[in-house]
Symmetry: D2
Subunit: 343 residues, 4 copies
Amino acid sequence: MAKVKVGIINVTGYAGVELARLLHGHPQVKLVSVTGRSAAGQKLAKVFPHLVDLDLNIEADLGDVDLAFCAMPHKASAEAILPLAERGVKVVDISADFRLKDAAKYPQWYDFQHPGPHLLSKAVYGLPEIYRDEIAKANLVANPGCYPTGALLALAPIVKAGLASPDIIVDSKSGVSGAGRTLTLSTHFAEAVDNVRAYSLEGHRHLPEIVQELEGLKPGFKPMVTFLPHVVPMARGILSSCYVQPDGGKLAGGKAKLQSLYCDFYKGEPFVRVVDSPPETKHTWGSNFCLVYPTVEPRTGKVIVISCIDNMVKGAAGQAIQNMNIMLGFPETAGLEALPVYP
Amino acid sequence: MAKVKVGIINVTGYAGVELARLLHGHPQVKLVSVTGRSAAGQKLAKVFPHLVDLDLNIEADLGDVDLAFCAMPHKASAEAILPLAERGVKVVDISADFRLKDAAKYPQWYDFQHPGPHLLSKAVYGLPEIYRDEIAKANLVANPGCYPTGALLALAPIVKAGLASPDIIVDSKSGVSGAGRTLTLSTHFAEAVDNVRAYSLEGHRHLPEIVQELEGLKPGFKPMVTFLPHVVPMARGILSSCYVQPDGGKLAGGKAKLQSLYCDFYKGEPFVRVVDSPPETKHTWGSNFCLVYPTVEPRTGKVIVISCIDNMVKGAAGQAIQNMNIMLGFPETAGLEALPVYP
Amino acid sequence: MAKVKVGIINVTGYAGVELARLLHGHPQVKLVSVTGRSAAGQKLAKVFPHLVDLDLNIEADLGDVDLAFCAMPHKASAEAILPLAERGVKVVDISADFRLKDAAKYPQWYDFQHPGPHLLSKAVYGLPEIYRDEIAKANLVANPGCYPTGALLALAPIVKAGLASPDIIVDSKSGVSGAGRTLTLSTHFAEAVDNVRAYSLEGHRHLPEIVQELEGLKPGFKPMVTFLPHVVPMARGILSSCYVQPDGGKLAGGKAKLQSLYCDFYKGEPFVRVVDSPPETKHTWGSNFCLVYPTVEPRTGKVIVISCIDNMVKGAAGQAIQNMNIMLGFPETAGLEALPVYP
Amino acid sequence: MAKVKVGIINVTGYAGVELARLLHGHPQVKLVSVTGRSAAGQKLAKVFPHLVDLDLNIEADLGDVDLAFCAMPHKASAEAILPLAERGVKVVDISADFRLKDAAKYPQWYDFQHPGPHLLSKAVYGLPEIYRDEIAKANLVANPGCYPTGALLALAPIVKAGLASPDIIVDSKSGVSGAGRTLTLSTHFAEAVDNVRAYSLEGHRHLPEIVQELEGLKPGFKPMVTFLPHVVPMARGILSSCYVQPDGGKLAGGKAKLQSLYCDFYKGEPFVRVVDSPPETKHTWGSNFCLVYPTVEPRTGKVIVISCIDNMVKGAAGQAIQNMNIMLGFPETAGLEALPVYP
């Protein structure tokens, strides 16, 4: 059977190159075209030696493909996707450009006027655990941000069940690759090693995405989310510690009921595992798994839900391929079966 | 002027050996005796090569000293201190054995009956920023835990000012040295590197200490503290992200008022700095400084206070020396002037 | 087609658990039995959460298998393998117990009398790039050590070509996982992080293996190998810097000739890549690739060959599976196609 | 007694800022002026928060000082120093601009014509263990490179004793701070973590410095040095493994004689310790110590000498202060007494 032809726009960032790594092992698609601005004209495996025998040149423009992954920065991504959408090419967008439904949020959070607001309602938010059916029918999927993926998978069951009060805190700890491949002083090795820091205390761009999706889970729910991201000295991984005040101050049934609620919610999910002891980011390294641990603080009654993902896989490239699999009718786990690399 | 003679009980743990490092450079005291169980009989600088020319043998029993630091594990520490207290030797205890005022908490949180409950009321909690005067008169100082030091310095101003509601969350990220020098699988390098994990979700032993001290700051205040510690892959440092619901739901004056409150509270403090941008643990590495950053989430109104310390210094050995300086009438910064090592 | 049944003796060490990870994705074999001493009776995926859905119990004794991987420590490995060899079960031994041809070396280097010296001549040294044909016919393959794999792949071409003088230095830098999962002070996180150290300066156990195999490459060649291993603060990877005095003091043809010699030697090899710029261990992380970079110091004429491997994969579990593939007539790359995980 | 006024030209690199940290604690000098290009006009402690209360502005031009440290890049450093030397200001130059005696080496190794070749013979190479007396009389001291410091302290005793053949290999492993504060892809955190790589295989700029100084130790000695630097994932530290073929092929007296030679050579040195077990970079972290371990490989007779330093201290700022102390007649250890920070 002929493989489906796919391409990556802007392969030279970490999300793009991770897509190349994972697509190389996918049984039903063939990566036929990759683009990049600075590195155009070079061999992909020369710029990224870990890709070894992946025999492609980095091009200036995308070739003929059935589905494109767009890993451009925001704004540039929307601009690159508009003509593809015109032509009916299926697209999974790694950027934030089609995640927010309200076009007015783009100037507010991303400093640009959205060039294709008519597509915002057609784009599907690519969190398969919530929108699987819509993704299957979509031509344009907005791949969730890394933090929102971890936060939403931690919070969705309790919010949807109506057991959460609006007072929600998401305290996330991310590996440094989340900041991308662009050089900055704060991602300079000697600065980032042996160090933990919080950032974006005035409001991180992933906040409106988290709020929008929590609102969507429960009509009328108006969450007040305090989201604080931190950077910790490792390459990959996000652990999110989510604190939820139970609606009414106390969770009926306690921890056992909560665990059971989560197990039911994620029953049959290929990539989410509700675990019975606190998870570690290392247990997801290089894989598309999300580990979720819900519990109740025994003295205060506060609900704590911890989630772990690999920000490059379930938080970016892996989830994009999961979305592609759903869009193309492939088994959802195709190309994503590899277990985490440990230790 | 003759130097004061000091000793360290159980020098072979990380807190003990850090005391030795710092005391070696202290202008007014002389480290004359160190004890250790497993390594007794060996040269200190043979077991710990970084101590280079520090010429002491590790002994089984403490020699004659004017002041002793006790760095034993809990229970053993109280047992070692009781006879010293009898003899009137001044003691700074690094363990938790004299931190809790209520003897009933020891069986509950530490699994032992306290052998000297009569001393609990005489011991002073060694957080100089709160108890400086009491420390100056004390014979027995209970050096605070590493997490409580960071949490309390972050929370004290707002709690004492009566601006905090009881709903408080402390989300802490600690370097691995906090787990001590005893070998465990979770502190094995290949397990701890490239990894973040939460632990003690059922209740960490530092929780009752945090609660006791917050209650002490404001008569009648009954905080509901959810405390969640995490381990991140670095040797030293604790960053605590504290979330406080303002009393009445909203903080009058906002961030500017909050910063001003904190600046006033810590005015003149030699080791606490209220900073105007989010601090990083690296900026405290090897030093006794605590950096505190108070702010308000602009959408939810939640107060966020971030503190950074070196868990080995302000979180253990450095604060113990600061306490000693106060007890002995030395300049509070003696032996602690070194700036953080960066990068 | 029915899958071949394989098992792992002592799955609970890092080599064993890495075998489980890789075998889980192998298209032609089924992992049906795993043993472990301390953890016997537990679910494999409970002890190692990254194995997620790998549904096996850790047993005390190996079940019925067509081929067994033995990941026991030395001596115990030979004892476990002897009865299997009797019964005609094919075995890949990860330990050193069948690597050395001379039984007298075992008491000298490993402190035990070999319990099955008659098998030493039947066992094949499992470096496919040298012994592929012999491996194909073998029932017992001695999987090379991690350091010897990197050193021999770096040195084989120049030694076999007769261009090396006996004066050879191998300076290796290994990630900490090479020291295994057993707890030691030197692999305690706070000790190993931010640190580089050399060890085994009196002679590392992998030295006789390196010497034996270099001698085997060129009849009459008597190398004088100085081998110095170092530990660097990362979980995985070995970079070996090999220094070879060219025979006669100067290499005819210089670097270009040397590169050409290496390219010819490794032509068609599925897992060895001769690269044209200095390789990095990160470019092999999680994969079975070995990157080799041969060059000549332009002033001294000294030949420098650098090799990089993932010590857990090409240096242990991956190479064991490569050997299994050859022994069972499978495609040599089966189950080993995954690209390195970067960054 | 009035303190001596000192300044730092280009404080904003890692060597410059480390000088500021160490000088802040020096009892006999006062840091009165610091310059920087990009950050001119800002508060030093704002750009480098770890400097806390160090109250200086970063200026465009150096103020009036008795002694200047110059931490400019090469070429710029010579240009900045020429006018100072004219005016008789004492200078310690951290750059390479006055290390090489032969002006012809600058175009060859550093790509520039030396602007003040007449000063090359007047400048003293600032390795106190070799040139203490000359440094005491010098107005211009060329502070050694980080790699040469480690290599020369490892090799000086055996070379000076005439026991080394010319065949010398220096295999060095450096922390990432050695590459400076300028942003590059190879020092981007996600690229440098979990990674080891060699670089400068065609010849590192520190090579001519090592060769020049080895030649100076023994008239007529013509070393053939193969020097290969590596980067390992930690912020600080250099471990150099030096391999020396003994003159005549064998070292009379073996390891014991060698250790005794080294102990005699470094007798009374305040910062060099000959140790009796392999040293670790962690045992020098933040301090001016150099640990040296000489031994003999028991089978090949090759001499191995391992040295460890903190590249930022003994390899740069600390040694510069040691030189200043000698130039100004202060105790050589003034301001440098702090023990290494461990763990």
